[in-house]
Amino acid sequence: MTGPVDTVVSVGSVGARPDGRRRIASRRMLHPGAWWIWATALAAAALRTTNPLLLGLILAVVAHVVMARRTDAPWSRSFGGFLRIGVFVILVRVVFQMLFGVRIDGTTLFSIPSVTLPSWAAGVSLGGPVTLEALIGAACQGLRLAVVIACFGAASSLCSPYRMLRALPSALYEAGVAITVALTFAPQAAIVSRQVREARRLRGRTDRGPAAWLGSAMPVLEGALERSVALAASMDARGYGRRGVTSRRLRRAISATLLLGLCAIAVGAYGLLDDTVPAMLRLPPLMLGAAALTAALVLSGRRLERTRYRADPWSTPEWIVASSGVVALITMIVAGRNGAALEFSVYPLAAPSFLALPTVGILLALLPAQFAPRPALAAPAEFEVAA
């Protein structure tokens, strides 16, 4: 289990060595937080639009950066899998549109049998004519979700989940097992799926096509979960998430503050998403939650006796990567505020509008392909050379 992990972690953490600094600085692992900020900002930008030009651009930018800066660790191969999930999502959305979607006027391609519903359900349709407009609209909505999935796939294939675990704020160590499983499940699935495919090939079965998919889905899911839990257990046994010497009262206070903060943030986030809730339930709970979480962080962080071994630095490349994603999101928000047609109108069908500001913003998210340091190679030989 720890084979690829050990090599990558050890090679990636040479940044602190005093000698050969330039050589090392040009080849190191980027802070995982930077990749996650970049990817999350791009996903948030994608959620604000259905314009296929912008969505396609985000997808192309993300794919390009992944191909330019991924390592050769097992989880780095997972991006293709996320793209396949995206294609599946688009197909499901289009089929649902054909069967239950609102009937949209326009160029009828074909018709499927329809059911006439009573007048109180006149807004619902089952079957009926399928138009080009409806299919394109559904495909664009599916594409939006596929791009969001690809963004998270990019983050999880660009950075090591183990380094992400290390970078977590210490207050979250309280929920050590759950967080370990949550963060490492997707990369573990990538590793297990490769092993299962190899095993199938060795047994002389095909590893392509739907039959192989169905045959390997269960072992992959089961194996990935098992490995994540085993990892969490071994980390727990080695003291991950342990507190220092604290009084029981303080421990309870920290847990209560943490719980309160998380609940308040959940309420506030819901308020932000659903505009029909009163304004009192939007910003105030968010701020209360943030304050409570910070308090919990400070309290528990002080009590945790912990040292960092070869900490990940956060320097210029990290700032460039994180801010390039955030700039893309900001241009999207600003364009939306200024009345740009972020929503692709399917009726009457016209070419998607070209929006200069978000286009430039998304292209800026290409910067990591050039400015993020090349990842350290996992091969031990390279480590020796670098040292």
């Binding site: 030009l53 191909m67 609209g137 559904a138 929503e343 070419a351 070209f354 200069a356």
Partner: protein, 320 residues
């Protein structure tokens, strides 16, 4: 209910020379005086017309006489703040509610209605400017039928529902509504809008087939038969330039020109919202100008996407 703002007087001849005014004025002061004088006088005429037009407010919209095979439909668009737009359209029998909106936009020269990928109607006349962003907050364009004399909240899909002669179609932008029959209806009185000689749904024979045939091509033709039968609508093609290009015009004037030039769109009781209409008119001019650059942009973005994807694919092949 305030039923003031309904009028349907098209503005006619004075508008056409306006489009030439800005370019001529560059040749010097002397040659510039004529277009400016023309411009000022036409503004005065338009303001007078607008002032006269508000007098018969609330009267039935003039739809002309019924013609077999055609439906006369009164379309009311009320965004809740601007003056209500009331327009009578002549369309083939079997036209759907959504095609009506497209025809109306073509006739008035306003932005086409915007539909989200799910088919949800997000914008009429580019309102709201945030597009589909506010739908999550319960704000939306509600569809009403005023054919019965009162506004009845419509549960029907406007993409499917076909109109009949004498129908009254209402669209009201509801802010934070419940999404049901209790939401605010269009402000004008529905009873006064219906043509007295409405023929209803006399769809013997060709009604449905006409609708199916016009399904594909009709929406893109701006105006179509509706424009041809209404002489005032003929000037709608020449609308874009003058409305955006009147230097220093009072917003109220600009709005009356903008909407007046747009072939009989209703204007205006509230002068407070006139700037909004002027802004919309200028947006319209800008969008029509940038159509060509838009295509260049689309091609450029598509090329970039292709190049990036190709590069990523090649890299993936090499490392695999």
């Amino acid at each position: 209910m305030a039923s003031g703002p309904i009028t349907a007087r098209p503005a006619r001849e004075p508008l056409v020379p306006l489009s030439a005014a800005p370019s001529r004025s560059l040749r010097g002061l002397r040659s510039a005086t004529r277009p400016i004088a023309l411009l000022l006088s036409s503004i005065v005429v338009l303001v007078l017309m607008a002032a006269l037009d508000t007098a018969p407010a609330g009267a039935a919209v003039d739809c002309g006489v019924p013609v077999p095979g055609e439906a006369r439909v009164v379309v009311v668009v009320d965004d809740g703040s601007s003056p209500v737009s009331t327009q009578c359209l002549r369309v083939p029998l079997g036209t759907t509610g959504s095609q009506l909106l497209v025809r109306r936009a073509g006739l008035l020269g306003t932005a086409m209605p915007g539909h989200a990928g799910s088919g949800l109607l997000c914008t009429i006349d580019a309102f709201p400017s945030s597009g589909c962003a506010e739908t999550g907050a319960g704000s939306y364009w509600a569809n009403f039928s005023g054919t019965a004399g009162t506004w009845i909240y419509s549960n029907y899909n406007p993409f499917i529902r076909r109109v009949c002669d004498g129908d009254v179609e209402g669209w009201r932008y509801v802010v934070r509504g419940s999404g049901g029959a209790g939401d605010a209806a269009p402000r004008p009185d529905a009873a006064s809008l219906r043509p007295a000689d409405a023929q209803g749904c006399d769809r013997t024979g060709d009604g449905a087939s006409v609708g199916a045939a016009s399904g594909g091509g009709a929406p893109t033709g701006a105006g179509g038969r509706g424009a041809a039968s209404d002489p005032g609508a003929m000037s709608s093609g020449a609308v874009e330039a003058p409305s955006g290009a009147i230097p220093g015009a009072d917003p109220t004037d600009a709005s009356s020109i903008g909407t007046g030039a747009a072939a009989g769109a209703a204007t205006s009781t509230g002068s407070g919202t006139a700037t909004d209409a002027a802004a919309r008119a200028s947006t319209r001019a800008v969008t029509s100008q940038s159509a060509a650059t838009s295509w260049i942009g689309i091609v450029a973005v598509a090329t970039i996407i292709g190049a990036l994807a190709l590069a990523a694919l090649l890299r993936a092949r090499r490392t695999a």
